[in-house]
Symmetry: C2
DNA sequence: ACCGGCAGGCTAATGACATTAGCTTCAGGG
DNA sequence: CCCTGAAGCTAATGTCATTAGCCTGCCGGT
């Protein structure tokens, strides 16, 4: 090796900082290079191009979020676990809105593996409702859709009316919970 | 006026065509100008800049979608209306995935007005469940979150497993419906 | 202590774009 | 028939991403 001032991980660190402070749109290689105190082309020694940097970023964020969701759900089950999971999800996004948007901006990416983890967590929570196999998959998709939809809309400022967002979110969780119990 | 070959609406038309065929990422003023058979700077006589074009596009798409959702729900009520609404929503996105992504790519934009329409439709459907005022607002947010989350994830290819998506969507609708009935 | 390779940084150059400035032209009202 | 302004155009600038090719200091082996 040589002067180890940079590495793919370090580049992602700098990118993360830029995103946190100035939003996804501000993520340019020039900005990252400036952050890192390096000339732009030097970054290509560590990441293939901007697209790859976005993928790495995406994977990093998804893993970080999965960690927090799994920690929240750990040791609980049923409605308790569902509640904890959903709360942790929303809290993460409100804490790091730009990161979440950076995560979802890439259609799919190498995030697949990291995505598996999230699914695993959702399935674990659903086991508390006695769901297995296909039923659990369908339920996990719904959980994901509902959670994702809500936090994206909230973080994007789509909910303009004065009604309390906490109450809306409670209702959403109630819908999931009640839908999981009542037969179709 | 003068040679009326172009107008803000016509520019949006061309942009829409590019998006449909090549996706949101391909939307550049150069591409739109080429589509329109005009030099790039000429577009500035009709739209202020790229950001404004995106906003106009966003509003156009949201209105188009709202039209279809309201038509679907018209004349039905309760679960029938909910079902028709959700199906129309998903169908629209599957038919024009790129348009939907173009619509949501702008955080907020001048889409506010168009957004009111969508909310109105959702509230109308919810009236079939006896919901009014604040309760209806909360429910509308949940409807929107669930629907939006699902279609975004589906269109983005996030649901990789072989389980049938129709069944997952059925479950989602069931969750909403059952959550709207059962007390909290 | 010396040498060679190479990882990792750098400068220069290219090509897409967005955006601005300023010129030209035609259509329509007086 | 002239005059004005809308709608096009060309030229120029600045920001980015990306590529090519150069330079250097660190490390392992002699």
């Amino acid at each position: 090796m040589a002067r180890a001032s940079l590495s793919p991980e370090a580049v992602v660190d700098h990118a993360l900082r830029i995103i946190d402070e100035q939003g996804v749109a501000a993520l340019t290689l020039s900005a990252v290079a400036a952050q890192a105190g390096v000339a732009t082309p030097s970054l290509y020694k560590h990441v293939r191009n901007l697209a790859e940097l976005r993928e790495l970023l995406s994977a990093r964020v998804m893993n970080e979020m999965s960690d927090q969701l799994s920690e929240a759900a750990l040791g609980r089950s049923g409605d308790q676990a569902l509640r904890a999971l959903m709360d942790a999800w929303r809290a993460y996004v409100l804490r790091h809105p730009h990161r979440y948007f950076a995560m979802i901006q890439t259609p799919d990416a190498g995030r697949a593996e990291a995505g598996e983890r999230l699914i695993g967590i959702l399935l674990a929570v659903l086991r508390g409702y006695g769901l297995e196999d296909s039923d659990a998959i369908h339920a996990a998709r719904c959980l994901r859709a509902a959670g994702h939809g809500f936090v994206v809309l909230e973080a994007g400022g789509a909910f303009g009316l004065p009604e309390k967002l906490n109450e809306s979110y409670d209702l959403l969780i109630h819908m999931i919970s009640s839908g999981l119990r009542t037969p179709r």
